[in-house]
């Protein structure tokens, strides 16, 4: 090649990594969405037992989950997707465990 690619300015192209990115988005995305919806249930307004709040918490999971699936192909590689989404999921679930307390007296 006569013209060298301007490596310094253009970032490396995104690797497709179809399987690993898709699995990261679907699995970790779902776990992350459940944890975020759960955090809203526990520390959001009304607490976990507010009348009919459970239904809205369930509805929240779908857009959060599919939002993650939709954007997970933007990660530079499948490895990056697992790393970032994995960390976010662990963090969110840790926070959820910390926020939870016994529901019934």
């Amino acid at each position: 090649m006569a013209i060298a690619p301007p490596a310094a300015t253009a970032p490396a192209p995104i690797r497709p990594d179809w399987w690993s990115k898709t699995l990261a988005g679907v699995i970790l995305g779902f776990l992350l969405a459940v944890a975020l919806a759960g955090l809203f249930a526990w520390i959001g307004p009304g607490g976990p037992a507010a009348v009919n709040k459970l239904q809205l918490v369930m509805w929240m999971v779908a857009p959060l989950w599919l939002g993650v699936v939709s954007v997970c192909f933007l990660f530079r590689s499948g490895r990056q997707a697992w790393l970032w989404l994995g960390c976010a999921t662990v963090l969110a679930h840790t926070a959820l465990l910390a926020a939870r307390s016994p529901l019934l007296p």
Partner: protein, 541 residues
């Protein structure tokens, strides 16, 4: 808007895969879903007219008492208020033995005060269209079909987002442009983008809510384990409208039906009651749900207020439009946005048209996939045969989509002919639909996409034209009739039939005189010596 080309390339693949995996499922969901907007008129169109004089609710109390005396084991039943007052059906109590039972039992009161109980044999076309919408016709347990459509809807959300991402770079240039030129792929792409973009909010609402409707059991199970520590059932029970109702099963005298309507009116004058649903009637736990509409609010199909049947006290208003808390009202809004149960006739018609446009979006998406993978004669320097994948998708698209269209039209038209002649009209409806659908798929497979496309479009046109034709014959033939006040059903079907006929003619022209190197060409690829006779039949790439 500038987006890096590698991102666009990746999302184009995401869009292609999610689209191709779900296109046919979503076509059936949307076509049947569009029809669900008018399932009550369809049901009435099929049902023979009976002379019913508009009733009052004066005898409803006697009806409930007499039915309770005759059938004490029936404690859950419904009194349809609106249809009886409007003269659409007699004053009667109905009940079913299981959920989604197409043939309910009905009790009516004779003038002498005696009660007659019979099993109704309604067409249930509304139930068929609704089930087709929810399960794409997958037989067996409802859960299997709804899980399939739920997963398809999840892929559909991703398809929508990726479709928007790949459209963004050329959005300004291509917006609202439909280039009808020799470049067939360009035209389908423009049509696909146009349909997708103008109905994007509708599609996002449908996709996300359909994921919830299809997969809520699985999501709830996960929430129970990870969020509610296995105690979600208790949380749900604490939200149930019935949470404070006593378990007392001893006999109790109930208020007359009119009394509930009076109390509902004083609670919410704008609420229009449709029916009273009794639960544990005649016991200390007896309740009445007054179902109805309130056009001022976003309501699930219908809202209800729960009352004590013995004392008429208001027990719960969490599903009553205008009397819900924020959580309930928000979720009700999601339901209303999916079902189009707000805004009256304009929204109903818009949802019908948007549903049909959605079906067209998935159809054009498949056509685009086929055009993009086309092997051209010019590149191959000779007659070509399209790849197996292309031919199979073309066959599947034609067979499934047109099979669904023709099957639904046929079973609607046939319902009017069979009504009163057969004992189990609802089962006949399903039999006719499946026969037409599977027949169309087999036909497409045997004849190939090009010829079957034309033939099945004609079949769809004829099947749809059979709906207004049946009504016309009702003027002269005994046993048929012209349904009063339902000319809209016939007119919409007529427009549909004309549209299918026009599509059939254009598909016919394309099969005969269009490019030979197309999956839609009916002619067999000719020997190489004839090459160059029709140089202009090649479209631009």
């Amino acid at each position: 808007m500038a987006i890096r080309t590698d991102i666009v390339r990746i999302y184009r693949q995401v869009h292609t895969w999610t689209g191709i995996l779900t296109g046919l499922i979503l076509f059936v969901c949307f076509y049947a879903g569009a029809l669900t907007m008018f399932k009550e008129p369809l049901e009435r169109w099929i049902t023979p007219p009976v002379a019913v004089t508009p009733a009052t609710l004066d005898r409803a109390e006697d009806l409930v008492a007499a039915t309770r005396a005759l059938r004490p084991e029936v404690r859950d039943f419904t009194l349809a208020v609106e249809p009886a007052l409007a003269g659409e059906s007699p004053l009667r109590l109905t009940w079913t033995e299981e959920r989604f039972d197409p043939a309910p039992w009905a009790a009516t009161l004779a003038p002498d005060g005696s009660v007659a109980v019979e099993q109704l044999n309604p067409s249930g076309i509304g139930l068929l269209v609704d089930f087709l919408h929810r399960t794409v016709g997958i037989p067996g347990d409802l859960d299997i079909g709804t899980t399939v459509t739920g997963v398809a809807s999840a892929l559909y959300v991703v398809a929508l987002v990726s479709g928007v991402i790949i459209l963004l770079p050329s959005l300004v240039k291509d917006f609202l442009i439909l280039r009808v030129t020799r470049n067939v792929k360009r035209m389908w792409l423009d049509a696909h983008n146009l349909l997708g973009l103008i109905s994007l909010p509708f599609h996002l609402v449908m996709a996300l809510s359909a994921v919830v409707f299809g997969l809520h059991d699985h999501i709830y199970d996960t929430l129970d384990r990870m969020v509610y520590g296995g105690q979600m059932r208790a949380v749900a029970a604490a939200s149930s409208p019935f949470r404070t109702v006593s378990k007392d099963m001893g006999p109790v005298v109930m208020l007359p039906p009119k009394e509930f309507l009076t109390r509902v009116h004083s609670l919410s004058p704008g609420f229009q009651p449709v029916s009273l649903e009794y639960h544990d009637a005649g016991t200390g736990a007896a309740t009445v749900r007054v179902w109805g509409h309130d056009p001022r609010y976003l309501v699930r199909r219908e809202g209800f207020v729960l009352m004590g049947a013995a004392d008429g006290r208001i027990i719960d208003t969490q599903y009553m439009p205008g009397h819900q808390n924020g959580w309930s009202a928000t979720v009700s809004a999601f339901f209303a946005l999916h079902f189009g149960t707000f805004g009256g006739g304009i929204v109903r018609w818009s949802y019908f048209l948007l549903g049909l446009a959605g079906a067209a979006l998935f159809y054009t998406g498949n056509l685009l996939w086929i055009e993009s993978r086309r092997r051209t004669e010019r590149q191959a320097k000779g007659p070509v045969e399209q790849s197996r994948a292309t031919r199979l998708l073309a066959v599947g698209t034609v067979g499934v989509c047109l099979g669904c269209v023709a099957g639904l039209s046929l079973t609607i038209a046939a319902g009017k002919w069979l009504s009163g002649l057969v004992d189990d009209l609802h089962a006949w409806h399903w039999g006719i639909y499946y026969a037409a659908f599977l027949g169309a798929c087999t036909w497409a497979f045997l004849r190939g996409a090009a010829r079957a496309g034309v033939e099945l479009l004609w079949a769809s046109a004829v099947a749809t034209a059979a709906i207004p034709a049946t009504s016309l014959l009702g003027l002269v033939l005994p046993g048929l009739w012209l349904s009063g006040g339902l000319i809209g059903v016939d007119l919409v079907a007529l427009v549909g039939a004309l549209a299918f006929a026009a599509l059939a003619r254009s598909a016919e022209r394309r099969a005969l005189s269009g490019p030979r190197d197309s999956v839609w060409a009916a002619t067999v690829a000719r020997p190489k010596s004839e090459m160059g006779i029709h140089p202009l039949t090649h479209p631009a790439e």
